[in-house]
């Protein structure tokens, strides 16, 4: 079962990058624009964005960074990665992380509920191991599974990128708020994947809680996947209300602070981490409390 999921992930990654390659080759020439033009466009674009009246501080920082990087490139003649390169694909891996979420939710939703439906829960809970330890071992399994899937995603993206696109001789530049520096694309990819992992983590924890409370894997998996897709839409519905700042899905994706795609304008990464931590503690408390106290009649 877990092997099938991992294999599925690899297949989807290869297929996805293969399709990208094919679309690139059928598209018009501007797919392979000169990096200088791209940098120029980046500056012009960011300038426009900075003119926006209701820009928040994190957003302003982000666009200033973009300008600084682009100017540095032009001044020092440092090309960026082309889109159709192994490096850029690896950096963009975080955009494929919803696949990991999907598979991790299937695991998280089933891992407790299936013990109840198989009746094995009574065999498990009559061992000299406290219930919270059993639940913790299951939770760690879910997280490890998600981490392994993320690593598989990164590696298979790199392999597929190598196979379909090859290596670009660009350089990755980052802005730390005061100066521009070089960095490795692997480091950047890992950073973004780790930030995106917050979303995998929260949604699987949610599925794990449902699995523990309702003892039904279909309910846990179904509801979690439904929320995963609709939860983010709800941010846009709620964006004019104060409550959106405390809503889980406003904060699940931490990459928003580094890729500029902010869900709402005035949030900071610190605030997101606090909100996520509170949700996490609530989910865990509910899971442990119900699992620890429940009378097993299965």
């Amino acid at each position: 079962m877990t092997w099938i999921m991992a294999a599925l992930l690899v297949v989807v990654v290869f297929a996805g990058i293969g399709i990208t390659k094919w679309m690139n080759s059928t598209a018009t020439e501007n797919a392979n624009e000169n990096w200088r033009d791209i940098a120029q466009a980046e500056i012009a674009n960011s300038m426009v964005m900075l003119e926006e009246p209701d820009l928040s501080e994190p957003q302003a920082d982000y666009y200033e960074g973009r300008i600084a990087i682009a100017e540095h490139r032009l001044a020092n003649d440092i090309p960026s990665f082309e889109y159709a390169s192994m490096q850029q694909q690896v950096i963009d891996t975080h955009m494929m992380m919803s696949l990991v979420t999907l598979l991790a939710v299937i695991m998280a939703g089933g891992i407790v509920a299936s013990e109840f439906s198989q009746g094995t829960i009574k065999m498990l809970l009559t061992r000299p191991v406290k219930r919270w330890k059993i639940l913790t071992s299951k939770y760690i399994t879910v997280l490890l599974f998600a981490v392994v899937l993320t690593v598989i995603l990164l590696i298979s993206t790199a392999l597929a990128g190598l196979l379909f696109f090859g290596i670009s001789d660009g350089t990755l530049l980052v802005w730390n708020g005061s100066e521009v520096s070089e960095t490795s694309f692997w480091l950047e990819a890992l950073k973004l994947a780790a930030l995106k992992f917050s979303s995998v983590w929260m949604i699987s924890t949610f599925a794990f809680m449902l699995s523990t409370v309702f003892r039904s894997s279909s309910l846990a998996i179904g509801l979690s996947i439904f929320l995963m897709f609709t939860g983010i839409q709800a941010v846009f519905l709620l964006q004019n209300y104060e409550i959106v700042k405390y809503y889980l899905f406003t904060h699940t994706d931490l990459t928003q602070f580094f890729t500029g795609n902010f869900m709402i304008s005035d949030i900071t990464i610190q605030m997101s981490i606090v909100v996520l931590a509170v949700y996490f503690l609530v989910f865990m408390a509910i899971s442990y409390w119900t699992f620890g106290r429940r009378d097993i009649t299965a």
């Binding site: 009574k122 065999m123 809970l125």
Partner: protein, 307 residues
């Protein structure tokens, strides 16, 4: 049974909703003793067993296993207990051996040799590497017994253990349980509907009805020597028997007397001497079933047989 009890159930009660399912149940189980747990459907056998192994939380009362409370020190007490609750459910997609390995990891210090030993004891060595999905109910019961015995428990709780075993399997199972009770001093607590099976297996029988323990009997007491004497005239026979110190109970067309075989010829001589005509003298044994029906009010047992 002067020995210190291995298991002490103290004033156990369970209320679910407004209904009191178990009412103030107390029971001691001793080393090397096999205790049967009998009761009609819905009497609270499984609930009691689930509370004894920590699957359910008692509303009141405590269960002590070898000096440790299941409620206060779960890990310390449960490591001495082997359990089969109803049908032993295993991971069907794994082999029997993998199942045992999985459970053994949750105990301290169970070697591979110990697993092999237990597999051999329950007679599963030929099919232990097959997936549990391919096992018959009887084989799952054997595997269930194996997982309960892995950690060499001092106390074994079995809920309906012979369910699905064939007659040879039941016999083997019984002999095996009696052996580990006698040789290893394991206390065994068995719930079952099979009255005749309980009678053969157990040293002692606890009977529960509507959540209350209504009787605890030693099987030896059930089998005490009794004779039935059919005689006429009844009144005279009664007088003679009471006269010589046998409390005679009227039964059918004669009397039941509690007495060893050695006193019977003398009693008959006296009866004949007094002019009582005797038609039959025979040892009398009441079956557990008839006693059980008598105690629990009958009726309900008809359902339990078909379960």
């Amino acid at each position: 049974m002067a020995e210190q009890a291995i298991v002490q159930i103290k004033n156990l009660s369970k209320t679910i909703g407004k209904k009191k399912i178990i009412k103030n149940l107390s029971l001691d189980l001793h080393k090397g003793e096999i205790t049967g747990f009998l009761g009609p459907n819905g009497a609270g056998k499984t609930t009691t067993i689930r509370m004894m192994v920590g699957l359910m939380r008692p509303t009141e009362g405590e269960v002590w296993i070898d000096g440790q409370s299941v409620q206060a020190d779960f890990e310390g007490s449960i490591q001495k207990v082997g359990v089969i609750v109803e049908n032993p459910e295993m991971y069907k997609y794994m082999s029997g051996y993998k199942n045992l390995l999985h459970f053994s990891r949750m105990h301290k210090g169970i070697s591979k040799e110990r697993i092999d030993e237990v597999v051999k004891q329950v007679g599963m060595q030929n099919r232990i590497n097959e997936k549990v999905a391919s096992y018959s109910l009887g084989m799952r019961q054997r595997l269930g017994l194996a997982q309960a015995l892995l950690h060499d428990p001092k106390f074994l709780i079995l809920d309906e253990p012979t369910n699905g075993l064939d007659p040879a399997g039941i016999r083997e199972f019984r002999i095996y349980l009696q052996k580990i009770a006698k040789e290893n001093g394991v206390a065994i607590f068995v719930s079952s509907h099979l009255l005749s099976e309980i009678e053969l297996l157990c040293d002692r029988i606890a009977i529960i009805q509507n959540g209350e323990l209504i009787d605890i009997k030693n099987v030896n007491d059930l089998q005490k020597s009794r004779y039935y004497i059919q005689a006429e005239p009844l009144e005279l026979a009664g007088e003679v028997l009471t006269g010589i110190g046998f409390p005679a109970v009227l039964h059918d067309k004669g009397y039941l007397i509690d007495s060893g075989a050695e006193h019977i010829p003398g009693a008959i001589n006296l009866l004949v001497g007094a002019g009582v005509r005797i038609f039959a003298v025979q040892p009398y044994r009441e079956t557990l079933e008839s006693q059980f029906l008598e105690m629990t009010g009958g009726g309900e047992i008809a359902q339990t047989h078909t379960k």
